[in-house]
C-alpha cells in the first residue's frame, strides 16, 4: 500500500451528540460522507459504553479501490481512562480486525497516534500518549502483527478533538487513532 493511495481511504469521525446539535464536528472529515453515514455511525456509537453518551467513533469507510474491505466499518479511534493506558474490553473486537488485516497484508504500515486530555503537564502527556499508543501496539503484536508494521507516535495534549473543559471533552481526547500509511 503506497502513501499516494491515502486519499482513497475516507476515515470518518462523528459523534451522535455532536450531530444532534453541536456545531463542532469531529476529526478531518468529508462532510458529505458524514451526512450519509450518520445513522450507521450513531449505531456503532452505542457500542461505546463507559458512561459517555458522546463518545466519538471514527470508522473506515468501505471503498472498492483500497483493498481494505475487511476493515470497512471498523473503528479507528480507541479511548482510555484518565491517566491510564489499558486497552478497554470494548476496543478488542475492532483491534482484532486491524490485527487480522495487518497480518494478512504484511506490507501494510500503521501509525498509532496517542493523545491525552488537557490536564497535567504537556511533556508528561506526551509520554502518556505514547504509553497508550504502545498499549494498542502490544495488543496488535500479540495477535501476530510484525512490530516493523507499527509505528507509535504521541501528540500529547496538543491536538484535541473536543474543546470543552469537562469530563466529556476529556474522554474524547484520551485516545489512540489508528492511521494507515
Amino acid at each position: 500500500m503506497s502513501v499516494n493511495k491515502l486519499g482513497k481511504f475516507a476515515v470518518i469521525g462523528l459523534s451522535a451528540a455532536w450531530i444532534a446539535g453541536c456545531s463542532t464536528t469531529a476529526t478531518d472529515t468529508d462532510s458529505s460522507t458524514v451526512a450519509e453515514d450518520a445513522n450507521s455511525a450513531a449505531n456503532t456509537d452505542s457500542a461505546y459504553g463507559a458512561g459517555q453518551d458522546s463518545a466519538m467513533t471514527s470508522v473506515i469507510v468501505e471503498d472498492k479501490d483500497t483493498g481494505m474491505d475487511s476493515l470497512a466499518g471498523v473503528e479507528t479511534v480507541f479511548y482510555f481512562d484518565f491517566d491510564k493506558s489499558i486497552v478497554r474490553p470494548e476496543s478488542r473486537e475492532a483491534l482484532a480486525k486491524h490485527a487480522a488485516y495487518l497480518v494478512s497484508n504484511p506490507d501494510a504500515r500503521v501509525v498509532l497516534e496517542g493523545h491525552a486530555d488537557e490536564r497535567g503537564t504537556r511533556e508528561y502527556n506526551m509520554a502518556l500518549g505514547e504509553r497508550r499508543a504502545k498499549a494498542i501496539s502490544r495488543y496488535l503484536t500479540i495477535q501476530g502483527v510484525a512490530a516493523s508494521q507499527i509505528e507509535t507516535v504521541s501528540f500529547g495534549e496538543e491536538v484535541p478533538v473536543a474543546f470543552g473543559h469537562d469530563s466529556n471533552a476529556w474522554q474524547l481526547n484520551r485516545r489512540v487513532e489508528v492511521r494507515y500509511e
Binding site: 497535567g120 511533556e123 508528561y124 506526551m126 501528540f155 500529547g156 496538543e158
Partner: protein
Amino acid sequence: MMFKKWLSILFTCLVFVSSARAQLVIEITSGADQLLPIAIVPFGYTGMDALPEDVAQIVEDDLARSGLFKPVPRANMLSMPTKQEDVFYRDWRLLKSDYVVIGTVQKLPNSQYRIGFELLNVLSEKPVERHNSIDVSARNLRDAAHYISDKVYELLTGSRGAFSTRILYVTAEGDRKSPLFKLQVADADGHRPQVIVESKEPILSPSWSMDGRSIAYVMFRNRRPNIYTQELATGRRQQIAQFRGLNGAPSWSPDGKKLALVLSKDDNPEIYTLDIATQKLERMTNHYAIDTEPSWEPDGKGIIFTSDRGGNPQIYRLDVNSKQVERVTFEGELNTRARMTPDGRFLVTVQKNDGNYHIALQDMKTGRVQTLTETYLDESPSIAPNGSMVMYATTYQGKGILAVVSVDGLVKYRIPSAEGDVREPSWSPYFK
C-alpha cells in the same frame, strides 16, 4: 518650647532616616501594607514631535508589577519636576512617597533619544542615583525604561531586577480544529512580541540557553516530534533530535554545553544528555516508568525530572556523575515539571490536589510545601532569573493565558493575552 518642637522633629527625622536605610533591602514578605511608596514623575521632553513611549509610565508599571512598590498616581502629584532643583521635597512627604524618580528625554540630532534620570530620597532629601545619558533609538525606548526600572529596583531592594528580561511562549490561533502554532518572544511585560517560528503542526517546550542567545523547542513535522535549537539573532535553526518515538523536553545545561532531553527510541521515555559540540548522546535514566521533563539544577550537578516509577508522577533528582536517582517530592497526589530557583533554595512544581492542578513551592532545606496559585489547570511554571517571580500557564474564561505569582505567593497578576490560547512561558536568563 519652639526649640523642643524642632528637636522632636529632628529626632523623628533621624529615626525615619535610619529606618529608611534599613528598608533599602526589603524582605520579600511584602504584604499589601508594606509596599514601598515611590513617585515616578512624567519625564520632561523637549522634542517637537510626539515621544513614541511614555518612559516614566513603563517604569511605573514595572515597579508596580513587582509587587514591592506602590507608585503615587500621577493625578495626585502636586508638582511634576524634571530637575533636582525643582523638587520640593515637602510635596512628596505630603504624599507619603519615600522616593521620587525624575527624568528627561531629549531628541538628539541623529534621531536618537537621550534619557537622564535621578532617584531621590525624600526623607534624606538627597539623590540616591543619577544617570545622565542613556542613548537609544525610538524602538529601544522601552529597553531604556526597563533599564531604569532595574536600577531603581536593585538600589531599593538589594536584589537584581528582571525587567529587561524576555519571555518565550507558544500561541495557538485561529480555527481550534486546525490552529496555527506560533513560537513567540516578547519583553517580560508582554510588549513587543515577535514570531520566531510558526507551523500548522504543534510547537511545545521552548527553553533558553543560559546566555540567552539560543533557544530549543519541540516542533512536529510530518506528524512526528523533532527537537530544534535556534539562534535568536541569526534565526539559524538546527534539528538536533529526530529519533523514532518521543523527542521532547529539551533543557540547556548551565554551562551551555549540553542539552537534557527525552527520547523513547529505546522503548520508553528516558532522560538523555546531548553534548552539543561532539553530538554524543548519553542515556541518564534506565527505568520502565515514564521519565520526562528534565531540568538542570543551577550548579549543573543534578537534573530534576518527573517520573511515575513510584506509581504516581513525582519529582526525582538525578546525579549527573553517578546517575543515582532519589525522590524529591512527597506531598500532593502528584508533582510534575519541576523548576529550581537560581539560588537552589526552592523547587517549583505543578502539583495535583483534590483534582486541582496548582503551582506549588517546596523549600529544599525544610521540605515545607506551599501552594502558590488558585487558578485553573495551572502548568508550565518558569522562574524569573532573580528568583522573585514564577510565570505559568493557566486557563481563564476557557482560554489559555499566562499569569505570574511571586515566590512568596503574595503578588499575583495576569499577562494581557493576545488572540488565541497562550501557553508554555519560558522566562529568559539575564542577557549578557
